[in-house]
Amino acid sequence: MTEVVAQTAPRASFLTRDRIIKWAPLLVLVFLTLVFPFFEWLEDLQEGKQHLFLVDSRFFSIRNAARILIASTPALMVAIGVTFIILMGSIDLSMEGTVSVCAVIFAFAFISWGGTLASWAWLAIPLALVVGAVLGFINGLVHVRLKIPSFMASLAMGFVGTGFALLLTGGDRIRVEDEIFRSLLTVRWFNFPIMVYVALAMTLLAWFIQSRTTLGRNFYAVGGGEELAHASGLNVTRVRLMGFTLAGVFFAMGALLAVGRIGIAETATGNNFMFISITAVVVGGTALWGGIGGVWNTLVGVLIVNVINNGMVVIGLPSYAQDGVLGLLVIIAVVLSTDRKSVSFVK
């Protein structure tokens, strides 16, 4: 038997449908960064001001890029965390609780251990990450061990988290004023504050986990076919638990950056992360049914959402219209980045 069965895959031409869809979120992002300056240009044109498209744009400037990135970093961390879960075909809605608890515990520990990074208080950072991991792990346990679908398990765990944060603070907010810690926001390298670089490093780490480690690849395996993965000898329970734990760590990272940005830790620190992060993940092109997408998609998704938010104010859109415009743009972005041929139906 000498015959070779297989053929090699057909060579793809440069601009295939697959490729366009793959890059659609990025194209949307680029489009948006051009559309907002266009509105600015139009506005100045009407008022008869000198305005060279893009060059004179206030939106399309490095300073504003920094602002958008600052606003993006905490959400990015949270969205990356939930990306891992969504890759597995599950969902995690516990982020608001986890972020609040991590922020509050971090602030308490930080203040009571010295109140400055130049003391033992730096231990509060690893502590917060561990707390995030533990909360994620518990979340995973409730989901896996009690066999409760992750949507319900994590939703309820989110309530528990927020409630726990409230119990800890009693409703107070804790200010973290340490100059060294706050240099995350105040010190800039090449126009961008340190927290942007921290977020970048964490994103690279997440990408590394996703593409270079067994765990990361196992997320894809579970998302692509959980029963098959199980039959192949994969310990799916373990992968799930690890996934939720890892997500918890990233939520904690989001909490740290949120505190770094505002300088305040409180029960409300986690507010609004849930819908924004999941929207960002989907807008970035990661499929809610699992197995498709990844960290870079999420980065693009978070940027899209934040560019829209920033841009709407910058072009002077009335506040009451902003929610609706965001909603419509989100739908458009998702529509563009969905491979309609690869999904048979969507719920």
Binding site: F39, L42, E43, Q46, R58, F59, S61, R63, N64, R67, I70, A71, L166, T169, G170, G171, D172, R173, R175, R182, L185, T186, P193, A258, R261, I262, G263, I264, E266, T267, A268, T269, N271, N272, N309, N310, M312, V313, V314, I315, G316, L317, P318, S319, Y320, A321
Partner: protein
Amino acid sequence: MSFIKKFIEQETVSRRNFLLASAFGISGAAAARMFGPSPVQAATYSDPTIAWSYRNRTNPYWNEIVSGGEAFVESLGKSKGDLTHLINEGSSEKSLADVKALLAKTNGELALAIDTNDAPNARPVVESCVEAGAYVSTLWNKTDDLHPWDFGDNYVSHMSWSDEGPAEQTARILLDAIGGKGGVVHLGGIASNNPAIERLAGLKTALLDYPDVELLDAQPADWDTQKANQIMSSFITRYGDEIKGVHCANDTIGYGVLEALRAEGMDIPIVTYDGNPQAVDLVREGRILATVFTNPHWGGGITAALAYHAAIGTFKPSEEPKEHREFYGPTIMVTPDDAAAFKANYIENVPTYDWTDFWGPANGQIQYK
């Protein structure tokens, strides 16, 4: 002004006229009475349950309110824990449902102090309290057509703050600080909340006297620090150095604005509202130019006290004049000059109030426009 905005604002003006016609016009002066004046003689109780219903524990403002409620309960020789807390988490539905549950539980033997979360929610809350024979005092939110004197003794009182005047004062401080020239921005609360509307109105009134100052933009930040932070940085992009000062609807918004400015290395004057301890510290440090202390501790205590004393029969609400049924709470301006003294008097040593001096610090009867 952006052309989008211009277009939409023209639209809005015509809309608003329509709104006024439809929602308010017809009702006109019709004194709205769902139920006639309630039963002639309301029952009193010897030991009613005392409860405070409020939005949440994540906002220091409400913590202050609650501390007043607790101080009042302690003044009766009870423990803090004897004050029942109902937290609505920003949900009118929960607010009402919790009140009903408590009414059922206590069988109406209840002295309730409440902020109903949203103005329309005040009516059903009051009505169910009246029906159950409980005594209720409201704070902040109620619609203009709802008045304690329409409900006999059981709707004891309503306290609010006239924010327009103080907000105008802080605005003047701000506008003076920028030399009466240049642009300012306003970051507001949840747009439909009364205080948010009044505080913006205060700023606008002040601006009439400062023709060289332009209100560049006003957007709702929903009382939220993070949202305020985001909007402020977008404002910086849009208006850049044109922004000479920031008028914030409350302290929590102010924190977000300060951090947005800090990220840019900008230092421009801002004024806030509420007089939270942390904000007072910031005023003392000169980072906030002024805030307005509304003494939520006293407000929280006295609202509960009014409901309680009416319930045990200490006084008969229906015999009190109208200015004792609907009145404004006290306001104290806090500026860098007096911040230290203020802190010593009100924050570090919370004054012991006489919880039976119901109307001493009050600020006159509520006026409707």
